[in-house]
Symmetry: D3
Subunit: 339 residues, 6 copies
Amino acid sequence: MQAKSFDLITLGEIMLRLSPPHGERLVRGDVFHKTAGGAELNVASGVSLLGLRTGIISKLPDNEIGTYVKNRIRFVGVSDDYLVWDSDPGARLGIYYYESGAAPRKPAIVYDRKYASINRLSLQEVPEQVYADTRMFHVCGITLALSEPLRELTCQMIAKFKNAGAKISFDVNYRANLWDEDTARKTIQRILPIDILFVSEETSRRMFQKTGDLHDIMQSYCEEYGVKMVCTTQRTVISPKKHNFTSVIYEHAIGKFYTEAPYEDIDVVDRIGSGDAYVAGVLFGLLKYASPQKALAFGNATSAVKNTIPGDLPSSDFKEISRIIKAHSVQGLQSEMDR
Amino acid sequence: MQAKSFDLITLGEIMLRLSPPHGERLVRGDVFHKTAGGAELNVASGVSLLGLRTGIISKLPDNEIGTYVKNRIRFVGVSDDYLVWDSDPGARLGIYYYESGAAPRKPAIVYDRKYASINRLSLQEVPEQVYADTRMFHVCGITLALSEPLRELTCQMIAKFKNAGAKISFDVNYRANLWDEDTARKTIQRILPIDILFVSEETSRRMFQKTGDLHDIMQSYCEEYGVKMVCTTQRTVISPKKHNFTSVIYEHAIGKFYTEAPYEDIDVVDRIGSGDAYVAGVLFGLLKYASPQKALAFGNATSAVKNTIPGDLPSSDFKEISRIIKAHSVQGLQSEMDR
Amino acid sequence: MQAKSFDLITLGEIMLRLSPPHGERLVRGDVFHKTAGGAELNVASGVSLLGLRTGIISKLPDNEIGTYVKNRIRFVGVSDDYLVWDSDPGARLGIYYYESGAAPRKPAIVYDRKYASINRLSLQEVPEQVYADTRMFHVCGITLALSEPLRELTCQMIAKFKNAGAKISFDVNYRANLWDEDTARKTIQRILPIDILFVSEETSRRMFQKTGDLHDIMQSYCEEYGVKMVCTTQRTVISPKKHNFTSVIYEHAIGKFYTEAPYEDIDVVDRIGSGDAYVAGVLFGLLKYASPQKALAFGNATSAVKNTIPGDLPSSDFKEISRIIKAHSVQGLQSEMDR
Amino acid sequence: MQAKSFDLITLGEIMLRLSPPHGERLVRGDVFHKTAGGAELNVASGVSLLGLRTGIISKLPDNEIGTYVKNRIRFVGVSDDYLVWDSDPGARLGIYYYESGAAPRKPAIVYDRKYASINRLSLQEVPEQVYADTRMFHVCGITLALSEPLRELTCQMIAKFKNAGAKISFDVNYRANLWDEDTARKTIQRILPIDILFVSEETSRRMFQKTGDLHDIMQSYCEEYGVKMVCTTQRTVISPKKHNFTSVIYEHAIGKFYTEAPYEDIDVVDRIGSGDAYVAGVLFGLLKYASPQKALAFGNATSAVKNTIPGDLPSSDFKEISRIIKAHSVQGLQSEMDR
Amino acid sequence: MQAKSFDLITLGEIMLRLSPPHGERLVRGDVFHKTAGGAELNVASGVSLLGLRTGIISKLPDNEIGTYVKNRIRFVGVSDDYLVWDSDPGARLGIYYYESGAAPRKPAIVYDRKYASINRLSLQEVPEQVYADTRMFHVCGITLALSEPLRELTCQMIAKFKNAGAKISFDVNYRANLWDEDTARKTIQRILPIDILFVSEETSRRMFQKTGDLHDIMQSYCEEYGVKMVCTTQRTVISPKKHNFTSVIYEHAIGKFYTEAPYEDIDVVDRIGSGDAYVAGVLFGLLKYASPQKALAFGNATSAVKNTIPGDLPSSDFKEISRIIKAHSVQGLQSEMDR
Amino acid sequence: MQAKSFDLITLGEIMLRLSPPHGERLVRGDVFHKTAGGAELNVASGVSLLGLRTGIISKLPDNEIGTYVKNRIRFVGVSDDYLVWDSDPGARLGIYYYESGAAPRKPAIVYDRKYASINRLSLQEVPEQVYADTRMFHVCGITLALSEPLRELTCQMIAKFKNAGAKISFDVNYRANLWDEDTARKTIQRILPIDILFVSEETSRRMFQKTGDLHDIMQSYCEEYGVKMVCTTQRTVISPKKHNFTSVIYEHAIGKFYTEAPYEDIDVVDRIGSGDAYVAGVLFGLLKYASPQKALAFGNATSAVKNTIPGDLPSSDFKEISRIIKAHSVQGLQSEMDR
């Protein structure tokens, strides 16, 4: 399996993120910070930073803004081999505007992603060799939700990856402003069974009408749909700038739940992308060590630390995450800084 | 009454505020952020953002700095119809330099407002029609304190607004570096009775020598001076960056005190102007709904959220404040962000 | 005629302009400067800065980005009375990305304006009283080009303004990336005759197939289409950062051509919007003084100085333009700075 | 004479300079660059950078803004030993707002310097030992112009320095917005004779009613008023961003005029302070080498290079100026950069 | 003793500190904030800000970067009289890159200080008069650790200062990445006895193998090595951004321990340099008042407040520290801001 | 030959470039812009931007600064497959500080590159397969000059690439501050013959003692040393901010000189790296089209446009360069901007 070129391939929209400087507001000010982001890019980048080889399938406008995004993708360590360029006069990159919150004011987010080039991606534009060259394929519910054509393409692509022997990872990542729960549930059922499912407890209860405790719920996905592993995060919001975080992973083959003590008092600088960072950590743990316990440790650490970083994209490499995992497992007093 | 052109007219000095970037100090650094601010402008802007029509009477130097301030006034939704321009060679805009605090260091504030153009404003320069065209007039103690001539003009203007049938709102806003308590009390007594009085408990006890509990004190203004409504804020400073906030409103006509649970754990980014934001919320509630309960809810919410915004001026519109009021009234778990 | 509330009303799209800092490139860097711009907003703002009352009819998304643009419109002195808000889920503000050039590299411009809210503006959303309350209406060819529905609406609106007795000003402002010359010519012919036509010599020759010298061409619009006044700019590009600029105005009633010596060696900082600034100066001269000679002087000066200002929007008021006109008319040595 | 502690002492106002970033305007934008400046501080700093020991007598408000200025004074190498602190409630630092020009737009400058603390400086506040400890004293016409009390103090101080044996240098530096030519001329005549006079040809002709060619004029100051050396700069403004510069020095003792070829095509970034930089270069040449030829070379070079630096204050040290002087004297091709 | 020119002279490396803006990371971003820093410079600057005369002995590269550091040294109030310039082709300034932490991510620090010019400083380059002209000499363990030649020079310099009658202050400031505990202990024993020793409890236990409670440990330095006064800080890290801080001082002559209640809930913005600020406050208290109780109060206050300031260098003057000490000693409610 | 993985591999030092913002100076200011740069990286990046596959062999410190550089390398399109990591405690990245010039002030450049990790690179650290997988290898004289061990390694590497059949490209790029002309000439003679030589006319005359006209000189390298192609740039410095540029290429096989008209009036924003951009354009032309005429056109265009871009690295892709080449070849009037 090591002979495959890519450890992880993802598929998804990449957006331009525009946000005012620290503390400023969208309705005022003269400056935006610009970055690129997107759920699947965040995942691919996180896995890449930890040391594996990843790529993303996406479609970008064939202009300077598309080039900027390509440069950013490369900057964060993800291959641009499977980017497709859109030369249509209506080609555009989706945008989202994001403003941080401060209690009692919530973060503000304005999406302008309709008509983005990703929705015009076709299966023919993606080189056939990607399917055989990839150990794992990951995608999330946002990509299924964006448009009817993209939904079909995603389902077909999942089938092709399955056929080629790649593992399939899926993060439900439900967004009420993109589609309704009914459509979401039915679409997701189409792509099951899969190898790894990321789903929140709230979504399980509301969209999938699950009942019982969290362990019951996680188990039920494996029993009903043949999912092999289920991961659910547990975030406690103490205040907009202070969270606790941990997660549970269930491995159906041996019927085991993996847990660990939460990261406490996380200094939340930018919460966007911390869910994707979690996925990245878990997938890295599975791809590298084939160990759910390692996956849990990496997932919790990458997610905890992502909260402290501005922008969607993770920026922690293997050394940093390893230090954080080690510090998290240690009891008692620790040095503030190593020097 | 709806036929009047302005829901609210204020009178006051507008200053240039210069502050170093996040965390920097006045005595160092190469950059100042520039904004405009002033107690009454803050109030007018807050009411305007919520959807009513407001203006400010002020005098600005007839140069580029005055023009900048005019542009800012318009940017924040306040009419520039009653700005008066000062072409005197000594014309100047007052300035204040402001540096944030961090425990145990307090914020630093340096005023350079002496000789500002506002002190040369005369009654003749203000078009006569403003009095009849206005539903409510608001001013605060700072304007009374700035100079002898401005004090006289303010008293005369209040009289003219009263005659024309406008409601009068006054915020004591005592500043020890501008005048002494004795002069302040005597001057304020000259302008009573009024419709709405904003006064802190501390000022009531010290300047007006009030005793008893807060309810006794608030009632006494109505009984002694014929004030119709009294509003007093209640701020608890947990740390320079973490406050609780609520307020009490007393309506004398029906002898009723309005209260609600405090906003807790407010993330204080910039506390300046949060008192003015409170006044804005209350006046909006009264002007729009004629309801002290609504006034309380709007006042508490606009003030709480202003603390999270850099600069003197509020920036929350009706939609944002309504969301915050709604969230404040809900029990139990809430989503972090709506998307 | 002075009794009308607005000296000038315009109709057009307002876009968010995003540009990298001085010398940086779209494909790199972490920051965008944000401003609002649009041909007709630029014109309205220019006229407003010179002292007349203006407004703009446009449609903005009902979100924070729309609010930002509204605030900017007010900041630049233009009334927001005729803004219409778009609450559609697909509501969006058009964007354009702009990067300065430096010889031999041209400026780069990326438009992302398709599907913008302006294209969903309907006649019913614009209050009827605007037609009677306005002295002059201005629109440009871009608005006709953006979409079929907007084209129809614009033609109908011009008809309604004509009926109500407003003067009509039109700037051809041909953009090859929006429509072809044939469609453009035919559409423009539908709205003729008008009072003031702005058209470049190049467009006259190519789109309208005009021949002869510039004077012949300008005259022909009046003879063929009943236009009363024609204005044509004359820009000489010495280098991307150094231009000369003047213009010619033809008044058909008396058959007279107005000209003056060019502004030479203009330091070009940002050329975008200098054509609109020219229109603003000319319209101001006509609205204020009813003098084509004054219109020429103001148009040339506002356009020349706009080149030296970053952003689309003019920022020169009456005092500044008057000083520049005066200096331009003086022979011999001048002081560098007045102090 | 080497035993004296200070090579140069100056007296003058130090102001806070606030200017928008590159290309921005005073009437817009969110940021000011802050620096300190003042004609005599610029001179002292320039001499200090070249390697001599200098100080400035001035009065600053006893607050954070005063402290900032003190820190800047030290940063630029000037002693703060003779700064006097103003604790008056009205204590303030003068401000000036400065915006760069670009053809055909001139730079804009707004002064807010009235009532500044410097005007309350008294002779008693300045330690007596300064007079004997100083080789040369320099002041300019602005200091004489600011206020009546400061004018008297300056005249007395000049007398005390003369008595103590210090050389006296004076730069006329006429500013029409501070005083009229008549008062200026009479005041200046009171302080004559002096050792070194800096005066422009235009001022000589207008204020002093001088006639004849430049050489005649320069000589006449020596003959009429007993001045020992006269320096006159010669600036040619090709465009706001491109100047030529040289100067003439006349040494009366030997009746000799010193000249050199102009610096051509100077890239003007910020012209403010280039006159003071000239004075600094000349005084350095005289103090260090007692050579008018050296003084001319240093004056021309420091002035030419100051034009290329943002801010009032020079920033070139002896090494840089020496390189520039050397390059200026060389014929033929030169390397662009040394590496 | 007051007749000496310098109250405090220090010796140490000064580095360029490069750090990304608020919240950004070293591995990304386009900008570094630049400042100068170094343990002994921080101490000297802190003492100078409080009102005494200080200088630093160091060696800087003779280029623009060295000049920048010299300017900064002067900006922070420290004399540049004893700076030595390095013209060697390999002359360089040490650099350190610093990135703030946010829980659970620690601050990151990358040193690039090897081969810095300071290591080539020789005793001959330091003017002999410094020893007699100085009341107190301070140095820390980092300077001993940097290189073998610098260690020798430091030991010799301490001997010369002792001979000349200066008090000696030493801060152990152990850095494991520079040397091992064994070498450190032996080197430090060479320089004992001294007048004031700063040492942490952890270092005492690990490097000096001390046992017993803190008071025993502190006493033992005096008994074993003849140290006259020992100071130990006590920091409690609640979270990376929230600390408590106090200290203990032991005066051996009278066998007394000085303590006070900790500063609680300090808002930690930048922790680097807070240990040096403590030393500065203590030394100021001793030099100015010869009072360990005052030294304790100043040390605790300067250290507490330094945590709230970005950059290594303190920026609090006597007025600010006095206000903080006063507020710390007061019971009950305090005003948030003085205005 | 198309089967090889890399079109171009380079070897060289990559440095951190720190430069103050537009117009600021190294000796002042609070901010540095950070980028990565190095002659061979610039070349590789330029070729990559034009569409070919490139990589760089270099050694970076194994810390956050090294990671930043790796991210930048990927951002600019160059493979990081052959980066070697240095974990030595003395591992460091070379730095250079750069400040723009403005007439008459030259740019300032301070190198701090001694002891950089690149000098510890060994042949064993570079995977053997690189030699066979590469179509062309490029290196420049700086790499030969940096240190004795690096010089030996470079010579051996050239030999290995030659053996493996790669074309060899060499740019003399003489830097007087790194080595003397004698050593340079002898070292360069060791690596000859090569396929493509870049050498300036000045270096040819001084270092190689060439005489005759430029054509004679270029030819002589082929005749004496067996070089197959020689390229010499021709830059005319009109002013620091205005250059002309063209070049000559000599192809020995057919004895032909290729030339074209210069790019005139180039707006020079940042000249650093324009020589490397030239090399990139030429190598692209040769690798892609095997046409010296195309190589000349691409080289001249990439170099001309690089001058207008801040930072060392080129940022122009194939589309942009093609537009510029086309515009350069056209006679007569051109549009300012395409829209």
